[in-house]
């Protein structure tokens, strides 16, 4: 059985797990490269008001459609207890089914770890049973998948680059001491097509990058709990916690928040973070909003201006208090 995994959204978080899982069950795993064609067909097929990553996801489904036996579009309701992902991911299989005539089979099993009884193995069993009847093999494949995922996350923590963490060839060179933080959802900050390779651009300017996935979970949790309400968005919590924790790091010289236009989570959580940053620190902070119309030249100009500003600030400002 050939299974297509659209290269978008939670691909950038769980691809190693899914890939290993299906491969261990003797399935072929296919992905399609992100390019202009995928983007265009996504924009054409998807509801107008959806965000760029969702549109690209539609494009990928369209390009895999018919070429594989099944397309894996899990309904990811929750990946953390008491929390949700985004309403659009909750209804993603329905969005796809009603926008695209999918001829391949759709695997839309549900991941829901929100309540007391949420169990990842149930999800594995349900998904695996579509491929094989052998429960033992499914268990093993999923265990291998989790192991692979764990290893991948370790590598990602070191290098902060999705592709090299995937290929296991991340450079272990000593990182440059000065860092620029890139915040945002995994499917924005690791998709080098959407974000126009921002990480490489920053590295070329002599900084190393730091992403939320490179920060320890308990630190994120600790800082995120400063919000006076229980978090219900996992992705929002991660970015807020990461952003607030970075304010204390002296080696972080600036924060760039990558957001996609009309992202509901970012519209509130990014704003909250921005207000906290402005109020309690003098960390340089920039929000870049991406959509299908974003031109690379304008994007580069803003990035260069930001990095220039960060550099001048280091060189010319003595950081000595001016009021005595």
């Amino acid at each position: 059985m050939k299974i297509g995994i659209p290269k978008g959204l939670f691909y950038f978080k769980y691809y190693p797990l899914w890939k290993t899982f299906f491969e261990k069950l003797d399935c072929g795993v296919v992905t399609s490269p992100t390019n202009r064609k995928v983007l265009d067909s996504g924009v054409k097929l998807c509801a107008d008001e959806a965000c760029l990553p969702v549109k690209i996801y539609h494009g990928h489904v369209d390009s895999l459609n018919g070429k594989v036996d099944a397309i894996f579009i899990p309904r990811i309701v929750s990946i953390m207890k008491h929390e949700y992902t985004c309403p659009k991911f909750l209804g993603l299989p329905e969005m796809i089914k009603n926008s695209i005539k999918v001829t391949s089979r759709i695997i839309d099993t549900t991941v829901n770890l929100r309540g007391q009884h949420g169990d990842l193995f149930d999800f594995a069993m349900e998904t695996g049973s579509i491929v094989t009847k052998d429960r033992y093999a499914i268990m093993n494949a999923f265990r291998d998948g989790l192991h692979e995922q764990h290893e991948f996350e370790k590598r990602l923590k070191e290098c902060g680059d999705f592709e090299s963490a995937l290929k296991k060839d991340h450079d272990r060179n000593i990182p440059r001491p000065e860092k620029i933080a890139i915040l945002g959802h995994p499917y924005v900050i690791y998709d080098s097509y959407i974000n126009m390779d921002i990480a490489k651009k920053i590295q070329r300017e002599g900084y190393s990058i730091i992403t939320p996935q490179m920060i320890e979970d308990d630190i994120i949790r600790k800082y995120a709990s400063k919000l006076p309400k229980r978090h219900f968005w996992t992705l929002g919590r991660e970015n807020l916690g990461a952003g607030l924790s970075l304010l204390k790091c002296t080696d972080v010289k600036g924060i760039i928040y990558l957001s996609s236009f009309c992202c509901g989570i970012d519209s509130l959580m990014e704003d909250y973070l921005e207000r906290q940053v402005a109020r309690s620190s003098n960390m340089p902070y920039m929000k870049l909003v991406l959509d299908e119309h974003t031109g690379e030249a304008g994007f580069n100009t803003r990035l260069e201006a930001f990095l220039d500003m960060v550099r001048w600030r280091e060189q010319n400002e003595s950081n000595v208090s001016t009021h005595g």
Binding site: E49, V77, L90, M95, T110, K229, F232, C262, R275
Partner: protein, 362 residues
């Protein structure tokens, strides 16, 4: 302590009655207007949804009139509404307003906290008194919904055009002067009597259109550019899929007692959307199916720009429209919505429904 709350259609009347019965000072924000929206747009995050922006405008206008405590309801995801209270407080703080914000999460989330917050704003009034006023507030909401239904039915059938609008205008002036649930009930009752006396052409053939979508845009007339009135004047009988009293029923009573009062809607939506995805997306789909079964001529979906759950609903609705054979139009609302373009779309839709109905009969 002077309490204020954001506008959502006529909800303010029920809340006003509730608070005044308990002896709490209330400041009602001025009816939503251009200025409200301007203030909100200026100080809110750019891509936040429209209700948040209008809320901010409401608060600022109320604070200018002396309010110092804001009361709103909350939720715990996955829709953005759950974080409104927090972010709104931050926005007001950055604007230099230091106000108290009391957020009521649904009682099913944490009943203890819910009660302690009620006690806080009501100055520790005995529980039975609070419960009694709460029930009266709910009854007012119920009466208002009833009155609205009457107006929806009369407006397209009135013989002298504009009669309902005139009566409603008078009522609005009266209700402003009414204090406490007893007076409010009386004003509503008088108004209903007046509405009953409006001369109507009962045989007139009217189109029936259901309004579905996101609750705030369905209920708040300023935001939906008075769609019910506009459609009524075009000779369309409108039905609102959601109203305040039902919202109170599901969120305050049913969920607390643990039963589902929206089973019909859920069942109707089952074929299109299996899980609830937050906001009112599932209700939107379910209501669309139910309306088509009731023989409505068309449906209009309203949503604020960038509303997450309704985007999912809007991509499912074309299938509903195809399978259930009912025309559905989606109208996205935000601060840039122009009135003439909006009217044009409504007119075109209503014309289309009329033609469709005529040809069907033949």
């Amino acid at each position: 302590m002077k309490v204020t709350f954001p506008h959502m259609g006529e909800t303010y009347i029920a809340l006003k009655g509730f608070f005044e019965d308990l002896g709490v000072d209330v400041v009602i924000p001025p009816e939503c207007n251009k200025k409200t929206l301007q203030i909100g747009v200026k100080y809110s995050p750019e891509t936040a949804c429209l209700p948040l922006k209008v809320n901010i405008g409401n608060y600022v206008q109320s604070i200018e009139n002396g309010a110092d405590t804001i009361v709103i309801t909350g939720s715990c995801g996955p829709c953005r509404f759950g974080y409104y209270g927090i972010l709104e407080k931050e926005i007001l703080r950055d604007m230099g307003y230091d106000v108290d914000m009391i957020v009521f999460d649904p009682p099913s989330e944490d009943i203890g906290r819910f009660i302690s917050r009620i006690r806080k704003i009501t100055n520790n009034k005995p529980v039975y008194k609070v419960a009694d006023s709460l029930y009266k507030g709910y009854r007012i909401a119920k009466e208002l919904d009833d009155m609205n239904k009457m107006m929806f039915a009369i407006r397209p059938r009135e013989i002298k055009k504009g009669e309902v609008r005139r009566i409603y205008g008078e009522y609005q002036k009266e209700i402003e002067k009414a204090h406490g649930t007893r007076e409010i009930f009386k004003v509503i009752d008088d108004n209903k009597k007046k509405l009953k006396d409006v001369r109507i052409d009962a045989d007139r053939k009217v189109l029936k259109v259901g309004i579905i979508g996101e609750i705030y845009t369905v209920i708040e007339p300023f935001v939906n550019l008075y769609i019910e009135e506009k459609l009524g004047d075009m000779g369309v009988e409108v039905d609102r899929s959601m109203n305040v009293s039902e919202w109170i029923e599901t969120n305050m009573f049913s969920k607390l007692l643990g039963f589902n009062s929206e089973r019909d809607i859920d069942k109707a939506a089952e074929n299109y959307l299996k899980t609830a995805i937050g906001g009112h997306a599932k209700q939107c789909i379910g209501n669309a199916v139910l309306y088509s079964r009731k023989g409505f001529d068309g449906l209009i979906q309203l949503l604020p720009f960038s509303c997450m759950p309704e985007i999912v609903a809007s991509s499912i609705l074309p299938s509903v429209s195809r399978n259930e054979k009912i025309p559905i139009m989606t109208l996205v609302l935000d601060e840039l919505t122009g009135e003439s373009g909006y009217i044009t779309r409504l007119e075109a839709f209503v014309d289309m429904l009329g033609i469709r109905k005529e040809t069907k009969v033949e």
